[in-house]
């Protein structure tokens, strides 16, 4: 089943086409990678999916229902959660409260306070932050803040998780742990769509990879196919 | 019927001229110096009161006052920016914080300037008669002082436009408006340019105040209404768009004139309704991006 579909998605910033006629799909249970040079339009695509920005034209469907035009909080409650390229945790709130916002407000059906608290704690445990629950979020290390963003997104009980450059700024050990977490999440039934620059992470975990360049989808396929794709290699190694 | 429409149009242009001036001034201060100067109207009030004071005390002709009040308000505006707002700009952690803080500081400034005026001149209403003769223009009679105000406003507006668009200083100002950081790297003395812009904004307000004093009553609390008109025109023309403010002023003047001919006391209300509609439909203004 196709959990996410995009049809001719286009976005302009002023006169510049950030995304042109991008058509794509994500199957339920997949881990799909999104790569491309800086400025290719990857985060823009995420912003259109999550409702942060409106599309110029084209439609995006989640579980066969059109989500273009909906507000971010509505899309979240339908089951799409995301993390951000520049970490956007609630810095002045304790770690637990960060996750609580997700479980209180972002779940498809509303929960009682007790259930929400439990969900939040479980999300923190999943990423390994339950011991830090009372610490103000701004006091966490970068790696832990990224974990917190994932926990917070998980607390909304998503079916699709958009991860924007999860690996950026992490060292080798942290990256390995992050990749493990991603596979663990997929095993729990969450579909993953991830933007990455770190090739090792992408090639190792993804079932499929999409490549964007100057706002257009230039290639799509398994990691092996992409690694051999001449256009992709040129784009990354060329001028 | 045609004469009636003509009356309305000319009357609208007459008020529009003054609106354009104050809007351009405000636009310079917000668009370039990034300060929402709530105290803008107080500089207009100063221009008006000083003109009256100089006329009654020394018999100085209002048109001559233009040359005195303008530089006076310019200097005050320049100094205020150099001291208060520059310090605020350098100590604010982000542009959004500066925007909020400078607006609040300007709010405080409004009370300071207004009350200084109240202490010196009291709260009473004043006016003077200058060129209050009828002039026959294309079949309708208009007050000479209003025509003079319109001509002066147009001249000042055009001169200003030319300065912004054609001179080196104007280029520096436009560069600073677009991208202060890069402009600074290109050799533009940002602190000085921003202070100059704020000063020019105050200059335009002071000049507008002189023109206002020729046609309307003068009192220490008159500033607020003009500040709000400036804000509405600037939003109408597009935030930071100086030519937009120039044209927007005339548009608003025309709207006011049309509404006045139907219901005189509704003109101000109509401005706010327009403002609300703009915010709902197109907050970036008619000419904004």
């Amino acid at each position: 089943m196709r959990i996410l579909e995009g049809e001719k998605v286009t976005k302009y910033f002023g006169g510049l086409a950030a995304l042109s006629n991008v058509t794509f799909h994500i199957g339920k249970g997949e881990i799909v990678g999104l790569i491309g040079p800086n400025g290719a339009g990857k985060t823009t695509l995420f912003n259109l999916i999550s409702g942060a920005l409106p599309t110029k034209s084209g439609t995006i469907k989640f579980k066969d229902e059109k989500i273009t035009g909906l507000k971010p909080h509505q899309i979240c409650r339908l089951g799409v959660a995301r993390t951000f390229q520049t970490v956007k945790i609630f810095a002045n709130m304790p770690v637990l409260d960060n996750a609580l916002v997700g479980s209180f407000f972002g779940t498809p059906t509303s929960m009682s306070s007790a259930d929400a608290a439990r969900e939040a704690i479980e999300s923190l445990e999943l990423v390994g932050l339950s011991a830090a629950r009372a610490i103000p979020a701004r006091d966490l290390t970068l790696a832990n803040q990224k974990r917190l963003e994932v926990a917070r997104a998980l607390a909304t009980k998503p079916e699709l998780l958009l991860l924007d450059e999860l690996m950026a700024g992490l060292n080798q050990t942290e990256m390995a742990e992050a990749m493990e977490l991603v596979t663990e999440l997929r095993d729990k039934g969450i579909t993953i769509f991830m933007i990455e620059h770190v090739m090792k992470a992408i090639m190792g975990t993804c079932d499929r990879i999409m490549v964007l360049h100057h706002g257009e989808k230039i290639a799509e396929g398994t990691p092996r196919e992409i690694a051999k794709n001449k256009t992709v290699v040129d784009v990354y190694l060329g001028a | 019927m045609i004469v009636r429409i003509f009356d309305i149009i000319i009357a609208g242009l007459l008020t529009g001229g003054i609106y354009s001036l104050i809007a351009m001034g405000f636009s310079l201060q917000y668009g370039v110096a990034k300060v929402v100067n709530i105290a803008h109207g107080e500089f207009i009030m100063l221009g008006a009161l000083l003109t009256w004071a100089m006329l009654t005390a020394f018999g100085i002709n209002p048109l001559v006052s233009l040359a005195i009040c303008g530089p006076f308000t310019f200097i005050i505006g320049f100094l205020i920016y150099r001291t208060l707002f520059t310090k605020l700009r350098t100590s604010s952690p982000s542009p959004a914080v500066f925007e909020g803080n400078s607006m609040l500081a300007a709010f405080g400034l409004m009370f300071v300037i207004q009350n200084i005026a109240l202490i010196i001149w009291g709260a009473g209403m004043r006016g003077y008669s200058y060129l209050n003769v009828g002039v026959n223009f294309l079949g309708t009679v208009f007050a000479a002082n209003r025509l003079v105000a319109l001509v002066a406003a147009l001249v000042i507006g055009v001169v200003f436009y030319v300065i912004i668009m054609r001179t080196r200083l104007g280029k520096a100002i436009r560069a600073a408006a677009e991208d202060p950081a890069t402009a600074g790297l290109m050799g533009v003395n940002i602190n000085r340019v921003l202070a100059l812009c704020f000063g020019f904004g105050a200059l335009l307000a002071g000049l507008a105040g002189v023109l206002v004093s020729m046609c309307y009553p003068i009192y220490a609390t008159m500033g607020l209404e003009y500040t709000l008109i400036a804000i509405i025109v600037v939003v109408l023309g597009g935030l930071g768009n100086i030519p937009g403010s120039f044209i927007g002023g005339f548009i608003l003047g025309l709207i006011g004139s049309i509404v006045s001919s139907w219901q005189p006391s509704l003109s101000i209300v109509s401005y706010y309704v327009l403002f609300m509609l703009l915010l709902i439909v197109k907050p970036t203004g008619i000419f904004g991006k």
């Binding site: 956007k88 945790i89 | 709010f107 403002f275």
Partner: protein, 321 residues
Amino acid sequence: MDMTAFASKRFLVPGLVSLILLVLLATSPLYISSYNVILLAAILMYIVLTVSWAFFSGPTGYLSLATAAFFGVGLYTTAVLGKALPLLAVVAAGGLVSFVLAFIVGAITLRLRGIYFAIFTFGLVELIKHALLFWEITVTGTRGRFVVLVGNNTIYYVVLGILVLLLLTVYFVRRSKFGLAMQSIGDNEDAAAHMGVNVTLVKVITFAVSAFFIGAVGAIMATRWTYIDPYVAFNPLFSFLPVLMAIFGGLGQFYGPIIGAAIFAYLEELLLTKFPYYYMLIFGIVLVVVILYLPDGLIGLIQRARQRWQKGGLTGKHANT
């Protein structure tokens, strides 16, 4: 949410202090002069205005300059309905009309950037003033109204009641699910929206609730004036003073706005009749100075001073954090 803090000593002491203060305030008309009762009522009124303002503008970061508009609406509700309904109903009506007005204004403008909201609220005072003037000139033919008379003690108790209700509301909302939503918006609005918080709705409701209290206190204070017209009722000073008081007191803590309001309200009432223009001038200067040099307000200043004193007391050098 961590509820264990409630039982700790930190909660017990302020709780007891508040209770004692409340008892003192509730019984004060028995032992202070009538003039001082009204003075105290005015101070409590400013505390209501300031806390209401801070309740919305503090957590959300949206600067509201509409306090004078809601206050004026409350004043005018009493002017119009004062003789027709019992007092408490009029006060509630004043609050309700302000609530509805704030809801509409908020729904229109809180979707936009903060600066548009601030500018619009600033103009709201003038808009309503002129709209009412037009109404009075063309429709009713009257100019201003006479207000029903009410005893000083009654005024005092109603204001006190409104203040207590407000403080309880603020206290419990801050600790509720809604309060969590408010906090998340103030911390990172984008992220909050993406986590399912209906950001606009939360902002609008908060704005409307704060307006309710402002309108209610305006409705009761109307009885201090015997005659009200649009110029008297809609005065930008009432938008300015709560901002000054809250920022001076400091927005970080619960009681910052209360202390700021108490200080300036007392000064204002003291100087209002003797030096009207001078005191407004000084207040203006104070606001500018506070914005420049005291971003955390008086409370922030005291806290930082205390921290430095504590650190100095322990080792004389910077402690390692």
